[in-house]
């Protein structure tokens, strides 16, 4: 993970020197989108190829889905309050 973060720091350093090259940055945005799509495809593949997940999906799946919904609902509501109170930058 640490190594992955170094890539980001390197990118930021390079980006700082490029802020005047709008054309290059447009290409960068397009490549960023491609990387996003590739990563999501790979994540789907790793879930789909995990048999433990696919075969036992129904038995305990409902319980799991209920807990996941509660976790998302609760955290999103608190984050909304944090966002409104502290992060709303005009």
């Amino acid at each position: 993970m640490a190594l992955v973060l170094l890539w980001m720091i390197l990118g930021i350093a390079i980006g700082l020197t490029l802020s005047n090259y709008a054309g290059l940055l447009k290409i960068n945005d397009r490549l960023l989108n491609l990387a996003i799509y590739a990563l999501l495809l790979l994540l789907g593949i790793s879930i789909g190829s995990n048999e433990k997940i696919i075969t036992n999906f129904y038995g305990l799946g409902v319980q799991a889905l209920v807990i996941a919904s509660g976790a998302i609902g609760g955290s999103v509501l608190v984050s909304w309050m944090v966002y409104r109170l502290f992060f709303h930058i005009k």
């Binding site: 993970m1 190594l3 992955v4 890539w7 980001m8 390197l10 990118g11 930021i12 350093a13 980006g15 700082l16 490029l18 802020s19 940055l25 960068n28 960023l32 989108n33 990387a35 996003i36 799509y37 990563l39 999501l40 495809l41 790979l42 994540l43 789907g44 593949i45 790793s46 879930i47 789909g48 190829s49 995990n50 433990k52 696919i54 036992n56 999906f57 305990l60 319980q63 799991a64 889905l65 209920v66 807990i67 996941a68 919904s69 509660g70 976790a71 998302i72 609902g73 609760g74 955290s75 999103v76 509501l77 608190v78 984050s79 909304w80 966002y83 409104r84 992060f87 709303h88 930058i89």
Partner: protein, 201 residues
């Protein structure tokens, strides 16, 4: 239309994975680590070149700590509410599953070891659902609940697997908050799971 591209790639991936016809090299962790490195590098270039994101980061300061703390408290409160719907599970069990924050591999291993396979599988599925639902719901969550909503839904996964969608919908200036929150929650997972399943027994 654009909102459909993201789930389309993801669902295609799942179907390809189920088909089992892929070479092992595509399933390996190395490839997704490589893709993640490229993604973060490109996001870094974008952040570095964008004066606006520096202003956002500068105006945030220590408030960034509130993000993972709020997400942790919100997750635990939200999972506590679901105990009303799940009478067969104890509060401890439900809180332990919720404390996975979407980090299914680690939390399910921990829970299986501490408490048995059944709850381990619930933890695996529940935390996978958290990740999948985050990817699918991010456009809606960000629209109605602000730019931190997807980071909250993603929990520990906001540092890697859900980072792409978060960057896409909250903006790349939120990448650093997302990474910080995800890393903090990831570190908390083993401590909280162990705490809920063992303390006071």
């Amino acid at each position: 239309m654009k909102a459909l591209i993201i789930p389309a790639f993801f669902v295609t991936g799942i179907l390809l994975g189920i088909s089992g016809k892929l070479p092992d090299s595509l399933i390996s962790d190395d490839l997704s680590t490589l893709a993640l490195s490229i993604l973060l590098f490109l996001a870094g270039v974008g952040i570095g070149a964008d004066r606006k994101s520096w202003n956002v980061i500068r105006s945030i300061h220590l408030k960034i700590v509130l993000v993972p703390v709020g997400i942790m408290l919100g997750t635990l409160a939200g999972t506590l509410v679901t105990s009303l719907l799940l009478p067969t599970l104890s509060l401890r069990e439900i809180l332990a599953v919720g404390s996975g924050f979407g980090y299914y591999s680690l939390s399910s291993i921990f829970i299986t070891k501490l408490h048995g396979e059944t709850l381990g599988l619930v933890a695996l599925l529940s935390n996978m659902f958290r990740e999948i639902l985050t990817i699918l719901l991010t456009p809606i969550l960000v629209k109605y609940f602000g730019n931190l909503a997807a980071i909250a839904a993603g929990g520990a996964t906001s540092m890697d697997t859900t980072l792409p969608v978060i960057i896409k919908y909250s903006g790349k200036e939120y990448a650093i908050i997302s990474l910080f929150s995800g890393i903090t929650l990831t570190i908390l997972v083993p401590f909280l799971v162990t705490f809920f399943l063992t303390v006071g027994r």
